[in-house]
Symmetry: C2
Subunit: 690 residues, 2 copies
């Protein structure tokens, strides 16, 4: 056998679903040399995941993608609950807002997975100056071996992970189930067998099409049957429960008279039906589609394997019709269908030596009804992407990579615990357990629903104290014994200065006015995912001399401190809300971006006269930058936004909020000299090692 | 000589600038067989027109394009005025909102012409099921002869216009100025010579590449030097004034300390400077660009031709620097520049036999400073597109085509009158004529400015009484003697029923709640440009029995009346805010679309139970349509919108508003039987000829 071709790459991503594509997008934006391979012949075209939670929409917006989701998706604004009345006939017992009002500028939305995969692919391409330079998904490629040179694991310049990749023919890459003419509804479900073994067997003896990739980092985003996870060995096995409950899923254009009851059309609301024939959830979709999650009472895993041949669209639909009775339900178009077995599983380890990582379904699986899978998966790799990317670029030390497992394993555990409870609410519970018999929600249910909404939005995420997050452990943190012994930040936050910018949580978005031209912006739009940390300087009332002096003293200090930090190269797509980077700045910007949001009357402030250059940097080719100073004030066109009140910042004295590149709050401190010290301690703990 | 190849087409568009592309998009959406040819080798890539007025943005949004403009453009929200102080030094004397607050959900925005041309091309392609079917611009094609068979002009099935088209080589199509190495800044300016003669001369003897197109309609969108206009003869000559004033234009990234005065950055506001060295206007652009319009006092047409060799970027910029003093102005990047001579001209005729039409610069030219040219041009062909398209499809009788000239000639006349006044405000007027010496705007100026803003937004357009517009002539209509003797509608509007839906003007957009799912929509988003007329039924409080009975009686009448009207085929892109048409309806919809907007409490209305099927049509494949009933009421997420009050409709009794396919109000009437009669008279006058 001749030697295989070899090549080096910074990051190799295995799997091009939403988790893998999110990671690829991050690395494309950061200009990191990356490959992404996938065993399938093409992206998904229908069905699969469909729920976009508000935190995901905020994240996607930081890459400029959300506007496409937001336009095509159905916005799912209301939730209805139907239960049997005393005679056993279903009737609506409650209706509520589906997303907590005021939590975000977005609400839960529904669009099939194929579209977001397309949007990711487009955004990745737009991150490069030309199409020929761009990162492309290498399809029909499967890894066959993975080894880590442990001796080199801590060498930041090494490529210690060796992966053999096999290039498949189209026939080899086609799922066995499709080749054998089985219906395709189940082939990506957890009822389907893993087909990697089949693929490898069929491609045996074709080593001539193998190659070897040496990578700094490998990330397995390869789904519930993850080859990467299995290859890492027994320590990485997933643990958890599998129940006997089987549910069917159908995406149809329904023809129905549901409801004939007063009020709006529940076929176009998120609706939970508990009937005497089982449970069902309605998810109204784009394109007049409706997804139905249907309890299949007449099949059961029964402790063993399910007879998959029994599960047909016709069988699933008949179950739905029974639950819908006395209302009629028919359909002409079915876009997609599947079935799955309820269970919750996660692994103990999300990384090996911080060189090989697992993300998404590869490391946590659960039932799909809460619309969590794709969201938590994308948020996994959103958490990981900037850390790996900045480590590859030498901006971050390797030890920061350990925060990935710390931060995301807790989320995965919370997720499967939540899903266990949530699934039980659907399967087998009598209606009166979650609804009072009068049809009015009782306090306990309202509380449980509200709690679950906070969790499912993704906004509830609260990362633990590390060098990245300068906060005290909370008494409610239940994993205190599980902090990995990671180093903490030497900086100390003063949470009372910005009561709605909690350290460890995502920085919220409210509207502020650009000083230079009076345009109202969501502040998130000025915090794109470009790899930069940020200081949001709430300058307070800088029309007052002493307050202005504090802000400018901080600016003067930043002007001397920041040039000692690394710089970062911005890619073409890095400022999706600010226009393309048509004209080149004279030098790369600092890895720390600075924004000023003041509360003085807009017409009492003149940027060039009153505000330190740190807040409006000068470039010899582009002139002054007018996109860094904002005001919480009046405009000609909209009501005052009262952003200071919404952020919980005092209008007179202000605050400084430090953000990680993923938009999570890492530090809250004051504008004075003490605050400067905390900022320095925070950044020194992240960027510089003693 | 052998016979040339011949082919038939419904519409031939000459010129693929914004006017031609708007027309092509309309015809693509309507499924009309169309060709569009352009003499140039490619679309525009920088500079040229850059202003988007709010009515244009509303129109582009009806095709789903505005979101791309809105994202990339600079939103120009404020206007500042600078004048000399007593010592002759310029200082800011006033600042105001640039767009009238509350007029539209959009504000004036600035983006270069090349982008909107790209967006048009993308939207045209998206109107077809496949790329190979799609309408493409045929570039490097020039017409060489045009004849109308007048005997067949009124035959709706005839193709009476014969045009010979010549396919050019790239060399032939390249402008002479470029070939001769002259700077390209002026080649599309009104200082440049027409190059059609040159092109024809250079391509002489190449008749082998000629072909003959027989068209039902030909539209000349071929700019200020319009070949189409010249070919139509002496009657079509443009008339008007040409002044001696020359202005320069530069798109630069400025490096400047302007202003050093308190308040915001006027280099990022629309700013008018009158200094002792001349006048200048700042237009802040996308991508850190700024456009400067600069009076060139030292050159003059002087009654004859300008010496073009004198006008260089350096010369123009030195003039700008003088006006800017004492502030400094430099630049490193220049994206584009040009110069032009101020003048205002328009023609007496916009069409010949309603078979050959002129639109845009081909029939009105003026100075660019008010950002009107591209907007009025696009609005010309927006007015024409649905009329030609529906005539080709046999939906409208040919006589409706005469309304194009009636409606748009008045706009062109208003435009050149406005531009004459507006240009004089800039050139040579002492500052105190438009500003009081204290720097506070006087009443007269405020009034003039307000009036001009209403005109420049495009929202002020008010079409005359015809079969399309059931209104009385206004006493202020100054063209009463010039109504072409066109037939009027037999229907009579009752304007008091909807005081902010003026007959003849564009229907405004306010937010309403979709009954089925509680989602808030701009009502305009439910009025896409798909070729349909619309009845917006403001149903009033339909929780009251008598009111509900009126609404449902109207619905019952519509259910019997509408099937007698033509149907219309919707193209893939026809509902840009409603998702793609993935699933096929069983039959084409009526040319009249019906929407219900009621004011009853949302939870007291159940669509299937309470509302006639006319407002939620049933389709045997798709079920009930839940996208037709809206309510002016509360949601979980936003404050009540009070749409009835904004539309000027009584919350109890409601009104019926009839809209043309371009969104202009054609009828306002009542919900009762009298209203039905008016609706019938209005439609009978449009669709059926006795």
């Amino acid at each position: 056998m001749t030697a295989l071709p070899e090549s080096e790459v910074d990051v190799l991503i295995i799997g091009a679903g939403p988790a893998g594509l999110m990671l690829a997008l991050w690395l494309a934006r950061l200009g990191v040399k990356t490959r992404i391979v996938d065993k399938r012949t093409s992206k998904v075209y229908s069905g699969q995941a469909d729920g976009f939670q508000v935190r995901s929409l905020e994240i996607l917006d930081s890459f400029g993608i959300t506007e496409r989701v937001w336009k095509e998706a159905n916005h799912m604004l209301e939730v209805s609950f139907w239960n049997p009345d005393e005679g056993g006939t279903i009737r609506r017992s409650a209706r509520a807002a589906n997303t907590i009002p005021g939590l975000s500028r977005f609400t839960e939305s529904v669009l099939h997975q194929g579209r977001i995969e397309q949007f990711f692919l487009d955004a990745i391409r737009a991150s490069y100056a030309s199409d020929s330079d761009a990162l492309h998904v290498e399809r029909m490629v499967i890894p066959t071996s993975l080894e880590i040179d442990e001796a080199k694991a801590e060498d930041p310049d090494a490529h210690p992970v060796t992966v053999t990749l096999r290039h498949l023919t189209e026939e080899e890459a086609t799922p066995t189930q499709m080749l054998s003419n089985l219906s395709d509804g189940i082939f990506r479900s957890n009822l389907a067998d893993d087909d990697v073994g089949d693929i490898l067997e069929r491609s045996e003896g074709r080593e001539a099409r193998d190659e070897v990739a040496r990578a700094k980092y490998v990330v397995g985003c390869d789904g519930a049957h993850s080859w990467t996870r299995k290859t890492l060995g027994k320590d990485f096995e997933m643990k958890g429960e599998t129940t006997d409950a089987i549910w069917g899923v159908m995406d149809i254009v329904p023809i129905t008279d549901f409801p004939n009851d007063p009020r709006a059309a529940d076929i176009r609301s998120r609706t939970v039906i508990h009937s005497t024939s089982g449970a069902l959830m309605i998810i109204p979709r784009e394109n007049r589609l409706v997804r139905l999650y249907i309890q299949l009472k007449e099949v059961s895993a029964g402790g063993g394997r399910v007879d998959r041949s029994q599960i047909t669209p016709d069988f699933i639909f008949k179950s739905a019709q029974k639950i819908f009775g006395p209302y009629k339900l028919e359909y002409h178009y079915c876009d997609w269908w599947t079935a799955y077995q309820i269970g919750q599983r996660t692994g103990d380890h999300f990384s090996k030596l911080d060189r090989v990582f697992l993300a998404g379904d590869a490391v946590h699986t659960h039932s799909p009804k809460a619309g969590q899978g794709m969201n938590v998966s994308m948020q996994d790799s959103y958490n990981l992407g900037w850390k790996i990317g900045l480590a590859c670029k030498g901006v971050l030390p390797r030890h920061v990579l350990s925060t990935y497992e710390l931060e995301r394993k807790k989320i995965a555990k919370d997720l499967i615990a939540f899903d266990g409870k949530f699934s039980k609410l659907f399967t087998g519970r009598p209606a009166k357990d979650i609804q009072s018999e009068t049809g009015v929600s009782d306090d306990e249910f309202q509380k449980a629903f509200h709690t679950s909404r906070m969790f499912t939005t993704g906004v509830g995420v609260n990362y633990q104290p590390t060098v990245l997050v300068a906060r005290e452990p909370e008494e409610t943190d239940d994993d205190d014994d599980d902090d990995y012994g990671l180093e903490k930040s030497a900086a100390k936050s003063t949470p009372s200065l910005a009561t709605n910018c909690e350290v460890g949580r995502r920085f919220p978005s409210f509207k502020v006015v650009r000083q230079a031209d009076g345009r109202l912006w969501e502040l998130h739009q000025k915090l794109p995912s470009d790899g930069r940390f940020r200081l949001v300087v709430f300058g307070g009332d800088i029309s007052q001399g002493s307050q202005r002096d504090s802000v400018n003293a901080l600016g003067a200090w930043l002007s001397s401190y920041l040039p000692g930090l690394p710089t970062i190269t911005l890619s073409p797509g890095s400022d999706p809300h600010g226009g393309s980077v048509k004209f080149k700045t004279e030098r790369d910007p600092s890895v720390v971006d600075v924004l000023l949001v003041h509360s003085a009357p807009r017409d009492e402030v003149e940027v060039l006269r009153d505000v330190h250059e740190a807040y409006h940097p000068f470039d010899s080719k582009l002139g002054w930058d007018y996109d860094k100073v904002f005001v919480d004030g009046e405009t000609y066109y909209e009501e005052p936004q009262m952003a200071y009140e919404k952020y919980g910042v005092d209008r007179a004295r202000g605050a400084v909020v430090g953000l990680r590149p993923d938009g999570y709050v890492g530090l809250v401190t004051s504008l004075d000299h003490g605050g400067q010290d905390e900022v320095q301690k925070w950044f020194d703990g992240i960027f510089q090692r003693t």
